[in-house]
């Protein structure tokens, strides 16, 4: 152990004191807001030819038509949008032949009553504008103190939580406003529900809500708890959350953009400062149906049972039952299903094209890989030849998505090992990566960029400069991660020789991705079974030998560097030409409502978490007959994790868990 290794992190952190801070000053400026973001629509009634195509193509039935007579006595079908259902996929904009329905970059959609989110055609044709409420004035000392010290329950219920993450990180920094994420519901004021709620999760939400002291406020992110949203026909998600618990503020979006979450926080602070004390608690039968019975645990002298998750700062919406003898784990049993939406059958109800907007929602942390795997399988069945340019664009998107996913995981791992500073830094840098990703694909979290046969948009002219700027920035930052984390003796002692995954076990239990490569297995789908443009770019598969927590973290850090290298090459080699091919080799053209020939295909890609495969069966219809998603975390978490946890100290459980990079939404589907 070198003494200098202990002081080096202090030196690096000391430099931050004189550098420009990462934090965006929201409000008044919010610089990550790109022009290309898909936000609220604007409707031009004079251009509309009333073909109703937007309503037909909408996967969530968010678009309605108003039949009315104008002043001259002419009848019209006017387009109206319900933002409590809209998923901002942009399919309506794509099919509109006259560009009467366009998407602006306006993301601010917050309401206390969800009916306010139904936009009539007159409201829709107005130019969007926003005035933030002033939070300086106040009524009394107690409301002011209450509004400036919101404590938020730490419960990551669904995928919309990804946009609350920047508020925890250095990029938006919610602690400026006195907001604090806390683990105990008994000390919290705000329950932030992020996205869809399954019956299994709802029982836990009701329990947490009942434990919170009054006055309590419920803020709901996303459209799924409002009306069902994207999962409106899923058998295992709750459609209207306000039937079960009172909701104070609805934040629309899919997921709501980070600035929209900030706007909601401002509205909440403003309302509470003016004396708002939340809604009355319900006492009704619907509530009782999902109430969780209180069970008194049996006392055993030999061992204790401890539940890790689902409401835990370091678990995600995932639960693992730990049987402890003293400080040691004797047995670990994963309990999953908190995020089960039945994705595979949900896709059977949607057309081939509508599925492109739902498929990346399987795993919010790395949506791009899911798009790639799905369109790859569809292209094989339909016989679509992807143009060279589209292949390179897909590589750029996939690698940017991989970097942001690894950064998120490094942050989570560092936080579970007690290195909160790194968490703030990596999550802040993740926002920097999201900027070129959004500028290229028009989506921040869910890009919805790939379609069978190519990609939806070409890159803007100044994309290359902006991407290189971020790549350079990231290369510098990686050295800071080394100083603070990977060369830090405390972190090394904390993670070396912990959670060892032997090579043989990794193969037999089908652990893939960085977890497998950290155990000494030289396998990467990008190189072994190359897809898209990966055979034309030069990269090194990162293999480490130890198979412990440290190796897995280091493997991800090296993969970030490798991904930056791939992006640079892909941008340099980007060929000219079309970005999408619609002609199918077996006859016909692929379009929004077209059918594809009978057949089946398997397509595997290397996602950030490992090997991801889609097996799709078509019977010649407009919808798939069966879709099977083989997620990368299913075996890792459900089969390998319990084996790794056997015999470890209870304090190492979160570290081992996050070193495997779990995405609960992926294994639950």
């Amino acid at each position: 152990m070198k003494i200098s290794n202990i002081f080096k992190p202090f030196k690096t952190v000391g430099k931050f004191l004189v550098e420009k801070p990462l934090t965006f000053h929201f409000p008044p400026e919010s610089p990550v807001f790109t022009e290309r973001f898909r936000g609220r629509h604007i409707y031009h009634p004079e251009l509309c030819i009333e073909c109703k195509l937007c309503g037909i193509v909408c996967p969530n039935n968010a678009i309605d038509f108003l039949f009315e007579k104008d002043e001259k006595g002419l009848v019209h079908f006017r387009t109206q949008v319900d933002y409590a259902k809209c998923c901002f996929c942009g399919l309506c904009e794509d099919v509109c032949p006259t560009k009467a329905l366009e998407m602006t970059n306006f993301p601010f959609l917050v309401a206390m009553d969800k009916k306010e989110l139904y936009y009539s055609w007159k409201k829709l044709s107005e130019k969007p504008s926003l005035t933030l409420p002033s939070i300086k004035e106040r009524k009394g000392l107690i409301p002011w103190a209450r509004a400036r010290s919101f404590w938020i329950v730490n419960y990551f219920t669904g995928c919309c939580f990804i946009e609350a993450v920047p508020w925890v990180a250095s990029s938006f920094d919610m602690e400026r406003f006195g907001l604090l994420a806390t683990a105990s519901p008994r000390h919290s004021d705000v329950l932030l529900i992020g996205g869809y709620v399954t019956p299994k999760t709802l029982k836990r939400i009701i329990r947490i809500y009942s434990q919170m002291p009054k006055p309590k406020f419920v803020l709901v992110l996303g459209n799924c708890p409002m009306t069902g949203g994207t999962y409106w026909d899923s058998y295992n998600t709750i459609k209207e959350l306000d039937k079960y618990i009172p909701v104070d503020l609805w934040i629309a979006g899919c997921p709501p953009r980070v600035e929209n979450v900030g706007y909601a926080i401002f509205l909440a602070i403003w309302a509470v400062q003016h004396g708002y004390t939340g809604k009355e608690e319900y006492v009704n039968t619907e509530h009782g149906k999902y109430a969780l019975p209180y069970v008194v645990p049996k006392i055993n002298k030999d061992y204790n049972i401890v539940e890790f998750g689902p409401q835990h700062p370091a678990s995600g919406n995932f639960n693992i039952l730990l049987k402890l003898k003293g400080e040691r784990v004797v047995e670990a049993t994963p309990n999953v299903g908190y995020l089960h939406r039945g994705f595979e059958k949900l896709m059977e109800y949607r057309t081939w094209c509508q599925n492109i907007m739902i498929v990346q929602r399987v795993c919010v942390l790395d949506g791009a890989s899911y798009e790639l795997a799905y369109v790859g399988a569809v292209e094989k069945i339909a016989g679509l030849e992807v143009p060279e340019r589209a292949k390179y664009l897909r590589v750029i998107q996939a690698e940017l998505s991989r970097i942001q996913s690894h950064l998120l995981n490094l942050g989570l791992l560092a936080a579970s090992a007690g290195f909160d500073t790194i968490t703030r830094i990596t999550w802040g840098d993740r926002d920097k990566i999201l900027y070129p990703l959004e500028y290229m694909t028009r989506g921040r979290v869910y890009q919805i960029y790939n379609i069978p046969g190519g990609v939806r948009y070409d890159i803007p002219l100044d994309f290359v400069d902006k991407a290189f700027e971020v790549i350079k920035y990231m290369e510098k930052r990686l050295k800071i991660y080394d100083d603070l984390l990977f060369n830090n003796q405390v972190f090394i002692d904390r993670t070396k020789n912990i959670g060892k995954l032997p090579k043989e076990m990794a193969i037999e239990l089908d652990v893939t991705g960085p977890n497998m490569r950290a155990s000494g297995i030289d396998f990467d789908v990008r190189r072994n079974v190359p897809y898209e443009a990966y055979k034309d770019v030069d990269f090194k598969v990162q293999v480490l030998q130890d198979g412990d927590v440290y190796s897995r973290a280091l493997c991800r850090r090296r993969e970030i560097e490798e991904s930056l290298h791939i992006i640079k090459q892909a941008i340099g080699k980007l060929p000219k030409g079309p970005i999408a091919e619609r002609k199918m080799s077996r006859g016909g053209y692929f379009s929004f409502m077209s059918s594809i020939p009978t057949g089946e295909a398997i397509h595997c890609v290397e996602s950030a978490r490992g090997e991801l495969c889609f097996h799709i069966v078509s019977t010649g219809g407009v919808k798939p007959y069966r879709v099977k998603i083989r997620g990368p975390t299913f075996d890792t978490i459900l089969v390998a994790l319990p084996k790794l946890l056997k015999g470890v100290q209870v304090a190492d459980v979160p570290v081992i868990y996050w070193s495997l990079d779990n995405c609960p939404a992926d294994h639950d589907r």
């Binding site: 039935n61 039949f67 295992n236 209207e240």
Partner: protein, 165 residues
């Protein structure tokens, strides 16, 4: 063993119907339900150490359920999908958990979502759902859109509506 030899062996010994995608090294093999486990044993011995998934397809019109598994060989760099068909009314098949350790968990999922029981799998208990009383949810006969209207009181219709003043 080369891929060609493997395919030849599968056809000769197990009467398998084979289709192959050459560029991506995917082999699709169809066998009857009696040789399903034997094929799995053979592949396991031949170095197919990774089991990617075990899953099912419900063919309502033919009244059968197709059970399949996908496995991968590091040396040959080939993915093999082996599928078989079992009757829909009496869905039972031997488990693969004696060969691949992770098969038990995949079969548990299929048991829950498709109602297929795997003989020899000791892990068959609910995985995702808590107190589920309905039919196996991924079967084709179970219409989700009907179910959500009944269970969650979904008000809006599944087609775009026109509002008349």
């Amino acid at each position: 063993m080369e891929i060609e030899d493997l395919l030849k062996y599968l056809v000769e010994h197990f009467n398998a119907k084979i289709s192959i995608e050459k560029d991506r090294n995917f082999v699709l093999a169809r066998v009857d339900k009696y040789s399903y486990v034997n094929v799995a044993e053979f592949l396991f011995k031949e170095g197919f150490r990774r089991l990617l998934t075990v899953s099912a397809i419900d063919w309502l019109s033919r009244n059968v359920i197709e059970i399949y598994f996908i496995t991968y060989n590091h040396v040959m760099n080939v993915y093999v999908k082996v599928s078989t068909e079992i009757p829909r009314d009496f869905p039972e098949i031997p488990s693969l958990s004696s060969m691949w350790e992770n098969a038990a968990m995949h079969e548990r999922e299929v048991w829950e979502l498709f109602g297929v029981s795997f003989i020899g799998n000791k892990m068959l208990k609910p995985l995702f759902l808590e107190n589920w009383k309905g039919p196996p949810p991924f079967r084709k006969g179970f219409d989700w859109r009907e179910y959500v209207v009944k269970e969650y009181g979904l008000k809006y219709p599944p087609v775009p509506k026109t509002v008349y003043q």
